[in-house]
Subunit: 446 residues, 2 copies
């Protein structure tokens, strides 16, 4: 994974080495601004970052490839042979509600190390944070009804499927269709049948019977292949047959058409025939907006399968993650804060901490402050790695999911609105503001 990086991380590293720049640098990873219709984000991806930092190294194949490029000197390639991360990592734990500009990760290390890891850290944190956030919106819209991740087939490759399922589980989904994510992370897996299964048979009822014979205790039938109401009637035949065996069918899945109308009709048909226990599961191009609308209009849907829109965060397919140098300590031991003044892309200088204040148990505001300031509130950034070694046991996936749930409970409801939520208050401390002014003046003077 060391080679999963932008070339400039290597050219900069080579230039640092050649210039004998051995400063200790601190970098912040943060999301610059809020995506559309979002007020909060769910921090996600730290576990993969920790694995990366603990294991990063260049193998011979990688070094040979770099040598072939003809741009790196022997000294630098030798340096890479023994490359490892020996620095320090602070992070806001996965599953925590966070906001723009807040450092989600803070890295302090010899400058080559701190710089080099940029691309991997951004790739990992921005994607998982994006998806955990999206999932939390979908789960919130479903208001207590279960949501299952169905996204694997249309997400951006294998890793997006695997890490994406992890992120949706953290964000509140009850499970995933993705078998590999289930195996790797212990996420509950879900799945029954597709249209192809129905279509492989001469008739729908034949297909239903064959599936039921194989999985009599897991019988959830897809009923929209030809005609949904006809499919519902066929599923009632199966439900009766199962009852004769002393078993209960779980229910049916709707995957197309007017889900509001169809769910009401199917519910009525089931109830009229005395099958109140049959559940209705809905899927098919769903997202948080459609789920909110369906439930508001009284759709009798018991749970949701959500795919593409959640897995690619369709309405906002990226977050603007950045990794910027905020401080260097030079060989004389002078600590020098750094700022970037590029238009619209100004950064917050200095080594920082994020403080969270609560009122009556609910989140009231955050303050981004310099680390040495004294501010009231919960400190969000925690030490994770020191001298290259883990100093804190990482939480299990279920604990992260629980943290996300608890963190969201403490966020006032108004910030969870799906469209145009108000902006949660995140202030800069007086110390940080003063430092920014000083540095801006210094660099603007040239």
């Amino acid at each position: 994974m060391a080679m999963l990086t932008d070339l400039y991380e290597l050219t900069m590293s080579a230039a640092y080495l050649e210039s004998e720049i051995e400063e200790i640098a601190t970098f912040d990873l943060f999301i610059r601004e809020m995506p559309k219709n979002r007020d909060y984000l769910i921090a996600c991806g730290l576990e993969q970052v920790v694995n990366y930092l603990q294991n990063i190294s260049f193998n011979n194949e990688a070094l040979d490839y770099l040598k072939q490029q003809g741009i790196f000197k022997e000294g630098f390639l030798n340096y890479l042979k023994n490359f490892k991360f020996t620095g320090e990592l602070h992070a806001i734990p996965e599953g925590t509600v966070v906001f723009p500009q807040e450092p989600l990760l803070r890295v302090t290390a010899p400058i080559i190390q701190a710089q080099f890891i940029e691309t991997y850290l951004l790739n990992t944190i921005t994607f998982q944070t994006l998806i955990a956030t999206k999932a939390s919106r979908v789960v919130n819209a479903a208001g207590g009804k279960e949501v299952i991740d169905f996204a694997l087939r249309r997400v951006h490759g294998a890793d997006a499927g695997i890490k994406g399922s992890r992120a949706t589980y953290i964000g509140g989904c009850v499970g995933t269709s993705n078998v590999l994510a289930g195996m790797l992370y212990g996420i509950p897996i879900y799945g029954t049948i597709a249209h192809s299964f129905i279509m492989a048979h001469e008739s729908e009822i034949d297909a239903f019977r064959n599936y039921t014979d194989a999985f009599p205790d897991k019988c959830l039938l897809l009923i929209d292949t030809y005609d949904t109401i006809e499919g519902a009637r066929n599923s009632l035949i199966i439900a009766k047959e199962l009852e004769r065996l002393g078993k209960r069918m779980i229910g049916v899945r709707l995957d197309s058409g007017d889900l509001l109308k169809l769910s009401k009709e199917v519910r009525k048909l089931f109830d009229k025939n005395g099958y109140k226990y049959l559940k209705i599961f809905a899927s098919g191009d769903l997202d948080e907006y459609k789920i909110e609308e369906l439930l508001k209009k009284g759709a009798p849907i018991d749970s949701f399968g959500v795919g593409t829109a959640m897995g690619v965060s369709k309405d906002q397919p990226f977050v603007n993650g950045n990794y910027k140098i905020v401080e260097v300590t030079n060989r004389k031991g002078d600590v020098i804060p750094r700022i970037k003044l590029s238009k619209g892309k100004k950064t917050l200088p200095g080594r920082k901490q994020v403080y969270r204040a609560y009122e009556k148990g609910m989140m009231s505001m955050d303050v981004i402050a310099l680390e040495n300031e004294e501010i009231d509130g919960e400190k969000l950034l925690e030490p994770v790695i020191r001298n290259g070694k883990l100093v804190r046991e990482l939480p299990k996936l279920k604990e992260i999911r629980e943290r996300c749930k608890n963190s969201l409970v403490k966020l006032p409801e108004k910030y969870k609105k799906l469209t145009n939520p108000p902006v949660y208050k995140v202030e800069l401390s007086s110390g940080l503001k003063k430092l920014m002014e000083e540095l801006t003046q210094k660099y603007m003077r040239g």
Copy 2:
């Protein structure tokens, strides 16, 4: 990779096995409808599909995990031990311009095999096709100026970075910042310095000098960290110093602010000082729409680095890929075409071929037909795998990129418009239409 699948592929397979359904099935993989502002797509991802089909198998760890789920019988788990793909694959070659409803892949195999591979095939083809298409739009907007893929840091995980870089190269980018993609696929890699490098130094000119000392032949300087025009003046100092060493600086990179205004000012400054050879490279939240606008207004930009918007296909982050059964051959040898009638999701039945007609060397229309019909035109679907074995050498990446370029040359310009392009004519053959009518009537009757 066998486990990178939806659980329902396994439950359906188990049900087929238990019902002793051993039919040969044909499935089509196609994109159902056109994404917004797109008329064409670039087929991409076949190489990874072929690797998957040639190597798919379940290891002991996977089988143990499936057993632990407690839903599969011993017979099915034993069946999986020897699972491999023994069927047939037809495909439209990577890099070909394609349209909705056209089968990009056509799989014929024993039904369990043909069904099981669905999730991986969709995940692989839809993502790479999405990104190759997006890249071709960006490259087209740049009108001959070079485009480099800078997306790795904000795409959806590692695989999206690697396969995404491959797809952008096929779509016409000249290279990527992604070192691992360069190593794996032989794509040219690009990269110089980031703002952090500038900010790690006491002054911009110090940073420029240290970078230039390390890479005197690859000197492209990032000039917008503090003040772009000041940065351009500093870069002129470096250019002069390099000339004294008998070397030429390549140019500068702008990454923020008003790129039109700044590129004009910087160009003027360079030209006035006799540095016409210095190139201007632009990056920073670019996409095809912004590039078209910049060039239309005469921005003197020589090449572009495009990141997030291309790597996640920001304006349209997915394509609606589907994999549907179109025909089964039962044990008696009867060939039975299949159709799905779900509302808005009707499928094209039967084993098909896609024919492309040309007028004066330019593409004029496509016809989707049944395989046994006689239609004029170029056949797009080619046999790739038979009896589980490769029957055609896969093209090299450069050949795929060349095919894409040539395929786009033959597509009339109007279809490449970035917004609201007209719809290219794709007809269904008379045989196919007749079959659809017959099947619709059959299933609507129940």
